[in-house]
Symmetry: C2
Subunit: 428 residues, 2 copies
């Protein structure tokens, strides 16, 4: 049997402790599958004394992750500190500079600095893998990079923030407004210290940027993701969407359009009877469409100690087995600079507007849509007691620009009350 | 760039033509991802003249696949002939004996001869991969072997025969009996030449045996799979199951029980609101439960030219990239001989029986269940015009032996009319 693979584990939070636990509990299983032992050479973490629920006795500690990355007896750095700067970044750079392989769960680091880190890794003959950075235990990086390597990818879609999906699912099932469920989620400890990372769509957008780079062979470009969070999703829209057979999800979509690479993370309507529409609670789902494979749907736990540690182990064992892939599935030098699409591919849209309750108001809206080139698939005007008439419209596929023109036209005609809600509908 | 990987493709049916098409259409994409060109050195097929919808001009032909496997300019044999004996087997053995790698879509060959072929491959330093043999384009072999390599696998479940799922889904949605939908499927060309392979559960059982071997580190043992087809699933049971919130699927289940490895492929009830219950038409789904990752659900097209060819390419590119895994994820010598479980792990059961319409009949059934140690979760007696009373029972988790005893007891008490229907309920 070859020499053991010797790990340096930087960061012993929830995920780090989970990785240690799996390596301890499944040492023989992993050695059998990897063809060699996988050992912990040393670890680093801020607090040596904290009880992490795993046996840390006998482990060698380093004071800082950079020192850990430099150790001669560390072949592979496992970076589980997090953050797109600071010690995580320096430790990864130090390991790569020394030609050591790196496995990380750090979506922010990869989404922001992924291209330069990939270049650095390849220049030094090192491997940098990050399965755990996207959708926890679901093997979405492996599926895109390896299983679908013979496919031209058409589209990647995903619900990749479990907290947002929990909030939206709970709003729908309990009929509660956003603020109430947000407070519940915060009390349950579901939210990041900075909740904007979750509900603002940033965490999920990091993940989408990574998937897009692999899927479309472009340099990872987080700045080019259009991001809208779930803070403005109302219980009214969830109900109305449900009446029309849709569910609202915080959905990431990446696809090549005729005019560039589209990457957007935003609340969208999806059909209630589709796999995405049926996704409950804190679960994640990624849908990948290949030209040969068709649609592959992957579903599972997107976070948590076990699932994330499982993904970290997947990368470690891949390296132990001798698979040495470029970071984004092909050499960094071959990744094109992405041309951000100026507008998204056409989709159907959901519009909700309040109209003044006067004869001809609806006709003026219909006229504004027609003049903007937007054709109506379905429309409902609800019975109302208030002075204003709520109207729902589902359009045929059209661009966001056309939707904006239509709304401007309706506003100019003086029949709109307040700001209309416009949400894209993403069909499977 | 390293030397090209030179393929010999044996068999140019639907899948073989699909592989040729992808290699032609995506040559640059594949070379970029694999780090080397992938070329077709030569092909073999029975009929040179048939129009396969792809450009075969310029290809070197061999008369028989064994000659193809022997060619000096073939590094990797792609076996797409099929069948667990005959030329497919000899060609694979010839390639492996020469130390050449093999990629195959042949579930029957692997399910029956997988262990000896794995031993032969490893003895010669060759690689034998078979992603396309299970669930078409869904990367289930890769997920089990690689993504979940850090997990002890708890259970693998799957709907892995699209034809059976089409038949059962169509029976349910159209309210048609089995015979009618079977005839429809045959007319549509959905069935194998020998339809027993599909509706008898054999094809799906081949796949289950392969997954079980990888998941549980045992020698592949198709003979140990308990197989029951869908031929006796009645529209009545589909309706009654639906009334109770269940759907009937041809479901494969593999798990380690306290008493050995359970492998069964049989019609089962699953909750209608579970991912398996919501699986429509000819789609496939595999559910894998790992101790760390939790439940991973994979869904996609389980057959067809594009999806199956995509899986073949996944294996080819994996080898081109230098990943050299043992056939079943760990060395064949380390695979334990499976101890077939004498009985399945306890599950809830669905029972449908007709009772003579006499006072006390139901009490006698309830007594028989109680004496067999079977406890009742739900029971329904339907209104009836016939002289016999239809009764549905959903039990709490119990063994099949206990269910048999209960049915024998009810029969002995003289209240049963005809043969009761007993189907296991598999919970997610």
């Amino acid at each position: 049997m070859p020499d053991p693979l010797r790990l340096g584990i930087a960061g012993l939070g929830t995920v780090g402790a989970g990785v240690v636990r799996i390596l301890q509990d499944h040492a023989a299983l992993i050695a059998g599958r990897a063809g060699r032992a996988v050992e912990i050479a040393a670890v680093s973490a801020r607090d040596r004394g904290r009880d992490r629920g795993v046996d840390l006795s006998g482990l060698v500690w380093e004071d800082d992750p950079v020192g850990l990355a430099r150790r001669d007896d560390v072949d592979l750095l496992v970076e589980l500190i997090g953050g797109d700067a600071g010690p995580a970044k320096v430790a990864v750079q130090t390991a790569l500079a020394a030609g050591k392989d790196v496995v990380t769960a750090n979506k922010a680091l990869l989404a922001v600095h992924g291209h330069s880190l990939a270049e650095q890794a390849e220049a030094r003959g090192a491997v940098l893998r990050f399965e755990a950075a996207v959708a926890g235990g679901i093997p979405v990086i492996k599926t895109l990079t390896e299983a679908l390597a013979g496919n031209e990818i058409r589209r990647v879609m995903g619900v990749m923030n479990g907290t947002c999906n929990y909030i939206l699912t709970r709003m729908e099932s309990a009929g509660l407004p956003y603020e109430t469920v947000f407070a519940e989620a915060q009390a349950l400890g579901y939210l990041e210290a900075d909740p904007t990372l979750d509900v603002g769509g940033i965490d999920a957008a990091h993940k989408l940027a990574l998937l897009a780079a692999i899927a479309f062979g472009t340099r990872v470009s987080f700045d080019a993701v259009e991001i809208e969070g779930i803070e403005r999703v109302s219980i009214d829209d969830i109900r109305h969407a449900g009446d029309m057979g849709f569910v609202i999800k915080l959905l990431g979509v990446a696809q090549q359009t005729g005019r560039g690479l589209e990457q957007r993370m935003a609340p969208c309507l999806v059909p209630a009877d589709s796999p995405l529409g049926q996704l409950p609670g804190a679960t994640n789902m990624v849908v990948i469409e290949g030209d040969a494979a068709g649609q592959i749907v992957l579903r599972g736990a997107g976070a948590g100690q076990g699932p994330t540690a499982s993904a970290v182990l997947s990368d470690i064992i891949e390296i132990a087995r001798g698979l040495r892939l470029p970071t984004f599935g092909q050499p960094a030098a071959g990744l094109a600079a992405p041309v951000a699409a100026r507008s998204a591919a056409p989709t159907p849209w959901y519009l909700r507007m309040l109209l003044v309750d006067k004869p001809g108001a609806l006709a003026k809206v219909a006229q504004a849509l027609g003049e903007a080139g937007v054709s109506i698939d379905r429309m409902r005007q609800y019975r109302h007691d208030e002075p204003h008439a709520p109207v729902l419209i589902v359009t045929h596929a059209t661009t966001r620009d056309a939707i904006r023109h239509a709304v401007e036209g309706a506003r100019a005609s003086g029949v709109l009350v307040g700001e209309p809600v416009t949400l894209a509908i993403e069909l499977p």
